[in-house]
């Protein structure tokens, strides 16, 4: 390689290295601000914003916790990460994938120990399979006496 090209290559790679380090440091510094959601355990530990500041609460919709208030669009349910539970109330239309055992991300504020959600999003996991296969897995789990709820949903 002739000296001119060598110098260009070195300068270019130095620029690239500097930008990569700068980006890495910024991403590292932003890590806390880039928290997309808080788990019920983090909320319980007081890590989530308080005093009416909105944040996202993520977790699984707890089994047997979903109650529709008759005559309204209001739904009450409990978000859990299997360690802590946070009661949630939401008025509005729920996404198609919202169901018990489903990973869910809600946006709202804590009001008197209850999370008042303004938005409910359903997270779906990276699993795709035909319904027959899903039924077969569910059946196999039932026969092995594994709780059916362990299937699907995935971690938040």
């Amino acid at each position: 390689m002739n000296p001119v090209r060598k110098r260009r290559l070195i300068v270019t790679l130095l620029i690239l290295g500097a930008v990569a380090i700068a980006t890495g440091l910024s991403v590292f510094a932003l890590q806390r601000n880039m928290t997309y959601l808080y788990s019920p355990t983090e909320v319980d530990a007081g890590k989530a914003p308080t005093g009416g500041h909105p944040f996202r609460l993520g977790g699984i919709v707890k089994e047997g916790s979903v109650h529709h208030v008759p005559g309204t669009l209001t739904t009450d349910f409990v978000i859990t990460d299997r360690f802590q539970n946070i009661p949630v109330t939401y008025t509005g239309i729920l996404p198609d994938l919202f169901r018990v055992g489903q990973s869910t991300i809600t946006t709202g504020t804590m009001v008197d120990g209850k999370f008042v959600a303004t938005k409910v999003l359903a997270k779906h996991d990276a699993t795709y399979m035909p319904p027959q296969v899903a039924q077969a897995i569910a059946k196999a789990k039932e026969e092995n006496r594994i709780p059916k709820t362990a299937q699907g949903g995935g971690a938040p």
């Binding site: 980006t23 997309y36 996404p95 938040p156």
Partner: protein
């Protein structure tokens, strides 16, 4: 010239007239192969593949969304690598290829964002969220637009190509962020489905996986056909006054 460490065919192909003929001969075959693969992939994905146990038929947008998303990253990597060659070795062909990658990559990124949005509305319950995956993919789109804009802002096209190549090269730091965003942060977007090292262990049924892979092949073939075509016209306008272009014109007009 101490370029002897390069294989002979690279020297040959790096010369604009040779590349022009080579690309012209290869392009129709690539287009045909891309069309055949897309037809098979779409038929397999939209007709043969079973519905998903959770999402029903709505998941079928995966056959457009995921190959486009992979292309948005792959084309960026191609642009950055050819951009580096353009910066260091000042190879005219590398400049042309790097610059012609940008509009194709931008198109695939836009398709990714649009189909993701259409998919997110019914499944997640929102068109858009400022999660790490979605935001970094949007940044990728703006990087492509920046490269296109910077290239066209220069009077001298070769200087413009080199300036834009540097932007393209520096922007490559965004690629790992896009790819690992779903691992590093809690996001609404789910993690990776296809495990490239252990394809059979991917969390997608084989009946759904093969159309996805065929569609991926189709988008790659399309990209190669498209970049060859674009590079040909790019070379023609850049080398307009050269002897080989003149003789080409007199050949074809005769």
């Amino acid at each position: 010239m101490s370029r002897s460490y390069l294989p002979h065919w690279m020297h040959w192909l790096g010369s604009p007239p040779n590349f022009y003929r080579f690309a012209g001969a290869l392009r129709p075959w690539l287009i045909a192969a891309a069309l055949v693969c897309a037809a098979i992939g779409l038929y397999g994905g939209l007709v043969l593949a079973p519905p998903d146990f959770r999402q029903g038929d709505a998941y079928r947008i995966i056959f457009i969304h995921v190959p486009s998303a992979w292309m948005s990253l792959f084309i960026y990597a191609c642009m950055a690598v050819t951009g580096l060659v353009a910066l260091v070795w000042r190879v005219k062909l590398a400049e042309v290829i790097a610059m012609e990658c940008a509009p194709i990559g931008a198109a695939f990124t836009l398709i990714t964002l649009a189909t993701g949005s259409l998919w997110g509305r019914p499944m997640w319950g929102t068109w858009w969220t400022w999660g790490a995956r979605l935001t970094s993919e949007l940044v990728l789109f703006f990087l492509y637009l920046g490269v296109i804009g910077l290239y066209n802002a220069f009077e001298d096209r070769r200087r413009g190509a080199r300036a834009a190549s540097l932007l393209a090269l520096v922007g490559i730091v965004n690629l790992p962020i896009v790819h690992y965003s779903v691992v590093w942060w809690n996001t609404l977007h789910q993690g990776s489905t296809v495990d490239w090292l252990h394809l059979s262990q991917s969390s997608i049924a084989p009946s759904m996986l093969w159309p996805l892979l065929v569609m991926t092949l189709a988008t790659h073939l399309y990209f190669f056909a498209s970049i060859l075509g674009r590079a040909r016209t790019g070379l023609l306008s850049l080398e307009g006054g050269k002897q080989w272009v003149r003789s080409l014109v007199t050949e074809t007009s005769r």
